[in-house]
């Protein structure tokens, strides 16, 4: 049999969730552990209970909504993503993967299907990292790749601890993080790039990750009065930062279409107009299709920083972020994605993901699939992010039938 979700209900849920933290230009602003994130979580829990699911919250606030299987001793099939957004973000990045999961459960109910394995829908905490950098940490901890203490001690720019905010919004749960068997993990997500739209293809079967990297650059100049220090004596760290930002942009542009690099964060001291800044910290991210390309970009940026520091009498430092290694998703799940799409009459193609998702962490826990849908002009992390309703429905249909296949399959 082939399952079909209620696309209208899914769309209604997406638009309802988008109303929490709605922004003027049609996006949403629900940064992790904010009041809006709390409201979004509450709505998800409400809908999950309405659908008869059992709720578990773990110590980092990850929420698991469980539909019991015929054999409760078997590990569940898990679907999900995240409800937190960028600042501001759109209506689909993350949200689609969670709410499509809920609609898959309701679809199974309507079809009267009890699956062999349990099914769980998960909302991972702080995927975006917009308020508490870095992101993708709820699933990262679930996969045992960081510590609870590290996350509790992470602060936002106002100095507020993530641990305190979890408690404040009522999502500091009791379950140990990661002490939860998972059979397989399926994440539906907008592509956040232009490939599917350009190819006029509906379903993307993600084959592999890309080579992500980034770094932090510190530029030390010298304090001085901005209306009395001779121009030739100034060592303005903001000017040093400007030259480095420009160099990163030039290096990034030269990678197209195989790689990218941009400076996206700057903090300067004292950031007061009567004072020449003595310190600037610039952060950038980069990504390339292969590790050699990523390393070339990082080397080129490091060389530019050294040269700009030397030529302008700044003291500079350059440190690389922990790099994510490239890997392939399991072929059997890529093929399952393609097969199910075909059964449903949807076009599909294979493609990589350029950026991180919770699926990249769950890959180390269990067999994992990442399924992409087209988004308008490849735009995401933006109020103007958009996914067509028929694509959302198609994606949820694919997800439903993939979950059914995984949940019903006999022991290997």
């Amino acid at each position: 049999m082939t399952l079909k979700v209620d696309g209208d209900r899914l769309w209604s849920d997406l638009m309802t969730m988008a109303a929490i933290g709605a922004t003027a230009n049609g996006g949403s602003y629900r940064t992790s552990l904010s009041d809006a994130d709390r409201d979004g979580r509450n709505l998800f829990v409400h809908w999950a209970k309405e659908a008869g699911l059992g709720i578990t919250v773990d110590k980092i606030g990850n929420i698991f909504a469980r539909r019991e299987g015929q054999d409760p001793s078997l590990a569940p099939v898990m679907m999900g993503s995240h409800l937190d957004t960028q600042a501001p973000g759109g209506r689909f990045d993350g949200v689609l993967g969670v709410l499509a999961g809920l609609e898959v459960v309701r679809t199974l109910d309507r079809a009267g299907i009890r699956t062999r394995r349990a099914i769980e829908v998960v909302n991972w905490t702080n995927e975006e990292g917009a308020r508490f950098p870095p992101g993708v940490v709820g699933s990262n901890l679930f996969a045992g790749r960081t510590t609870l203490e590290t996350l509790y001690q992470t602060r936002d720019r106002a100095g507020i601890f993530m641990g305190d905010e979890l408690k404040r919004i009522g999502y500091l749960g009791e379950a140990e993080v990661g002490q939860r068997p998972v059979d397989s993990y399926l994440e539906l997500h907008i592509e956040q790039g232009p490939v599917l739209e350009a190819a006029n293809v509906v379903i993307g079967a993600v084959t592999n990750t890309s080579c992500q990297g980034g770094g932090i650059i510190e530029i030390l100049g010298e304090n001085g009065h901005s209306q009395t220090t001779r121009m030739s004596k100034r060592r303005n760290a903001l000017v040093g930062a400007a030259r480095i930002i420009e160099a990163i942009e030039t290096i990034g542009m030269a990678q197209e279409p195989h790689g990218m690099a941009s400076a996206t964060v700057i903090d300067i001291l004292p950031n007061n107009r009567i004072n020449i800044p003595h310190k600037a910290v610039v952060q950038f991210l980069t990504v390339h299709a292969d590790p050699e390309g990523r390393d070339r970009i990082l080397d080129a940026i490091e060389q530019a920083v050294v040269a700009i520091g030397r030529d302008n009498h700044f003291t500079t430092s350059f440190s690389r972020n922990p790099q994510r290694h490239k890997f392939d998703f399991p072929v059997e799940l890529v093929e399952l994605t393609e097969r199910v799409a075909g059964q449903l009459g949807h076009s599909s193609m294979r493609l990589p993901t350029w950026t991180a998702h919770d699926a990249l962490n769950m890959h180390v826990v269990c067999p994992t699939a990442l399924i992409f849908l087209p988004c308008r002009d490849g735009i995401s992390h933006s109020e103007f992010e958009w996914c067509e309703p028929q694509h959302a429905t198609a994606g949820a249909d694919v997800l439903a039938n993939m979950v059914l296949d995984r949940a019903q399959r006999p022991d290997e």
Copy 2:
């Protein structure tokens, strides 16, 4: 007779004040209305009371320490400056003018001189603007050039109101601001530039101000994901800001030695590394010896902003800060400075001030003199700011004898 201050006591006071909010590199960090500013104020009030002065605090926290004159109906001669610092700042900018004032009073006591007019030592609130921009506001309000409500509503970057902080640190006084007659105002200050040191001259008689200006530039780009948006599609507001900062630096360098301009403040949104920033706000200050030069700089920066916006598909806006008009200090007080310096055997020269001081506001209230001392390498707004002890003593000696001349002079 010629008064001579106790230079050792003055130096001891300067170093004691510097210990409040001391920084690792020998500076001080006492931004306006911080705990350290409160401690610095308390110390000043303690020393003033020790010297028998009467304390009045006005509604913006300006502190007036009064030594009564023979004829209390006459307006007092006022000396002073400010105890707040940059972030971090040095030991002399502002502090010297206040503590030299106290030492002048003690010198009069030791000499057994009762002056005809009263003498007051003032500490103006928030000269630096480091925490609550803009600066020079305590004296600005005293001169009737802003409103109490505007200042109470000024916030720091944490969103804290200036009015609330005044109350918190205990310096929300009851006296109306500006309802206080002043015969004349004398401010001793380090030059904050290299002219006196290069000329090997001890006393600077400030003849006039310069043409100050500045502006705020807003750059609007477009949100996007920093690891998935094609490089050629990015409209990174931080890159636009970098190009504008570089253009301002180039324009500023071309003015040497008649003018200056630098970008010194940047704020971007969302300032999160996974997101291409959609908004950047850059602030700059400029100064030139003449108004045409200042206007040429502002025009050049505005044209650069328009061109960079157009060529890079950013929406930009440019607004000019309120400009300060150039004026001359009264010749009689410039001549008094030179005459007193000569009597004391100190070299002197005339020079302009490039930046603002409380004296620029007091100029509209009463006859005002600004007296400069050399500072090492022209450095200020820096932990490395330095004034030689013998120069501090020389300046206080000049101040003492100028005050005596003004306070004893017969009615005109």
